[in-house]
Symmetry: D2
Subunit: 147 residues, 4 copies
């Protein structure tokens, strides 16, 4: 059940999203609750789309999460400044894969693989709009040369 | 800024909704975070409608919260069993008022006054469906004789 | 049950905290759920302390929420950029009061009065540390001349 | 990246935890947000411990989540009644594995593999208390004969 990260070396480089950990992010253990990270990841994915000017294109379908595989490596605590680095790993007609890493400085706090699919209003998986798919494929191909 | 509870004596009696406090309900202080109570209140309101067979009627409009006035009296902690007691206080054509009390045994943990309004899909306040308003008015009038 | 805002004119001016509304902030009505605003308010309060260099001082006690009186004026929806403006209204030895306003541009989305108290680890209300109280009283007295 | 469920046939049978989906569990897509499921899983894990009379024993250490691998199979919507079925899959001195399945009637809504570890207050992984480990190992060995 190891986290498979074989796609990382093929990924386009990272776009950071920044979170300051508040008291309400914590649970009774005094660390960020496991469920909160999924909200951080979601926010970072949209920040990633926004950064690439793809928000409107991405909203032409409903992107729903099919799968998240997340490993918690360190506890994040009050006042930590976390950044989420999102990398596109795979673009298919009906599927996107990203890896997302939550960091505190150079430490990895959590890392996740996320699969999302475009769906229609009824929840059926549909094809990515061609224009969006094209841009994503280019971003993926650009690889590490991309900021 | 005292919590006005003058409507309590006119209210219909309580319907309980039960919550077992989990670690993820807590914040870094080890008590239930102030925001979570609003989720407890929302769940209890719908339980109240369900208990009176009014779920379908209530869904004919979108009931949105206009105002919450909540006072936190005691800290709730891990494993506490909380019950939320909801009382209808006022029924108008475009407004409902409830008081909701969160208890742990006989202790009051938090108490809130909540005002909600029926709206249309665009968010405009509309009239309560007549049938719903009628039943609610009867429940209110039945007062303490009502279970 | 109108929101009393008489303290506003006495308040020190605003410090903004910025939130981009994500899909996970919404509920089934497609607007920010009422409970989420309390998380926004909490984040903004700590941003307010940080902005005034008071984080460490504020952490000498546990500041707990005693009371929130929040009125929801407009629905906030996906991609809205909200700012929370926090104003200190009252400083007493065992109590702080703030008003917090959530805005979207010049529109008021929600406004709240919040009372918080310093407590010890057992949850008992204690006195504000003198140094903190002094600084807060000065900020309050500086009133509208304060940024 | 298929969900590996090879441990299922070895697992002890299920203990259900029941959730009624509320409006605040949904996101802007009108379905339960992906992050919420992790709260459902956490609640169900503690319900599982409670059902086996193991709450106090489990609290002798802090059980933290190391890894969650969750696949979302169907959308859950307002008023759905979900049950979470938790199965213990592996008991080691410093690790527990469970599979947890969220169901709506006979439909699988989501399924997850969860790895958790006992830690001390500093977050270091420690050994499961012997008594707890013993009981868990017996439950695991009892397999499908267990309720």
């Amino acid at each position: 059940m190891r986290l498979r990260v074989m796609c990382l070396s093929l990924c386009m480089p990272t776009d950071a999203h920044r979170i300051v950990v508040g008291n309400y992010h914590l649970d009774g253990y005094g660390h960020v609750n496991n469920a909160r990270y999924l909200e951080f990841l979601e926010a970072a994915r949209w920040a990633w789309f926004a950064q690439h000017g793809l928000t409107a294109a991405a909203r032409q379908t409903r992107l729903v999460v099919l799968h998240i595989n997340i490993r918690y490596r360190r506890a994040a605590v009050l006042d930590d400044v976390l950044t989420v680095h999102s990398r596109l790993c795979e673009v298919k007609s009906r599927l996107l894969r990203l890896t997302q890493t939550v960091r505190r400085g150079s430490d990895t706090v959590a890392e996740a693989e996320v699969a999302i699919a475009p769906t229609d209003a009824a929840g059926n998986v549909v094809r990515l709009p061609d224009a969006l798919r094209g841009v994503l494929a280019e971003l993926l191909a650009a690889g590490d040369s991309e900021v």
